[in-house]
Symmetry: C2
Subunit: 198 residues, 2 copies
């Protein structure tokens, strides 16, 4: 109807369908949020030309990293590999971020890195975590206002389980990344369940 008669007001749509304005509200909200319909104040709804297949894409497109991220799990760069193993068990996470003073990211260390280090035959109590971690700039990052779809694609294409969520800061004229959260495949799986159950 909006495609044929748009722009058309919500009141006019309700009249044509012999429905109350209130009965239409949630449907119009979904159609607008998904991008199938556009809405202009005092003009009405218009058809954007998108297909119903784009509905899911439209809804997911509105979700940002900040909406689903978990709290960051970090250890200091002065820690040993042993400390990192204790932290990964205590927090029950797959990856830990290694930070310098002020919470700026220096590296990340995963269960896989720790397993490799533990197998290395060295004394893990004396082995600095910095020798076993993946260092900046070889770390895939996410921003809090980034679309969650883009973060999910990074997890897949870079074959990692977790992305540190960071904010950029300039310290002594050097760009640094402050760790503010993490996005994991668990967050994406939970989001998938929430969307399917909504």
């Amino acid at each position: 109807m909006v495609k044929q008669f748009g722009p058309i007001t919500g009141t006019r749509i309700a009249e044509k369908l012999s429905l109350s304005r209130a009965a239409l509200r949630s449907d119009l909200a979904i159609l607008t949020m998904s991008g199938l319909l556009g809405a202009r104040p005092r003009v009405g709804y218009y058809h954007t030309g998108k297909k119903p297949t784009e509905l899911i894409a439209g809804i997911i497109g509105n979700i940002r990293v900040a909406d689903v991220q978990s709290r960051p799990i970090v250890i200091r760069e002065t820690c040993s590999v042993y400390d990192a193993i204790v932290a990964i068990f205590t927090e029950d996470v797959g990856t830990i971020v290694v930070v310098s003073d002020g919470g700026f990211i220096e590296g990340i260390i995963s269960r896989k890195d720790l397993l490799k280090a533990a197998m290395g035959g060295k004394n893990i109590n004396e082995l600095p975590v910095t020798l076993a971690m993946t260092r900046m700039p070889n770390i895939i990052l996410a921003a809090a206002d980034e679309p969650i779809l883009r973060a999910a694609k990074k997890l897949i294409s870079h074959q990692v389980d977790s992305l540190p969520v960071v904010e950029m800061a300039t310290v002594d004229q050097i760009e640094k990344f402050k760790v503010v959260g993490r996005i994991t495949k668990t967050n994406i799986t939970q989001l998938f369940v929430n969307l399917a159950d909504s």
Copy 2:
């Protein structure tokens, strides 16, 4: 329109919208697949009473474990912890299934289990994998024809990264589970990306 005038044929909908039947085909297919509309041969389309919010749920509800599962990664129960560590690095997976003769599941072993075993101070070359693994029946399983949403919920509620996909078989009057695949949070993340990009 279908809500108001249904059951209504596709031809009649096309007439009312001044569109060709062909132009409507994909939209009607999506609406039917998602469960918003029902369709009866020679009667036409009718409104099922579901809301647009249920569109995503409808589409996801049609996806089964078999549609997205990965191949199983297994080792024999006669292997050592060292063998399991080599396999987990070679295959680059988070969890390996431990099987008996015939490919029946006996246990699973994760990076976390292996890290714990490597820290234990024993000779991992001589330590049987069966002493470090999680044993049946304490393993969360999935079936190939199970809805993917149910498998995703198991991953979340049981806090595991991977579910072995199994088929039941009776061997010498004992029920056993043959390993035919695996479902991981990576599969769900990939599915999420595919749905959003479709």
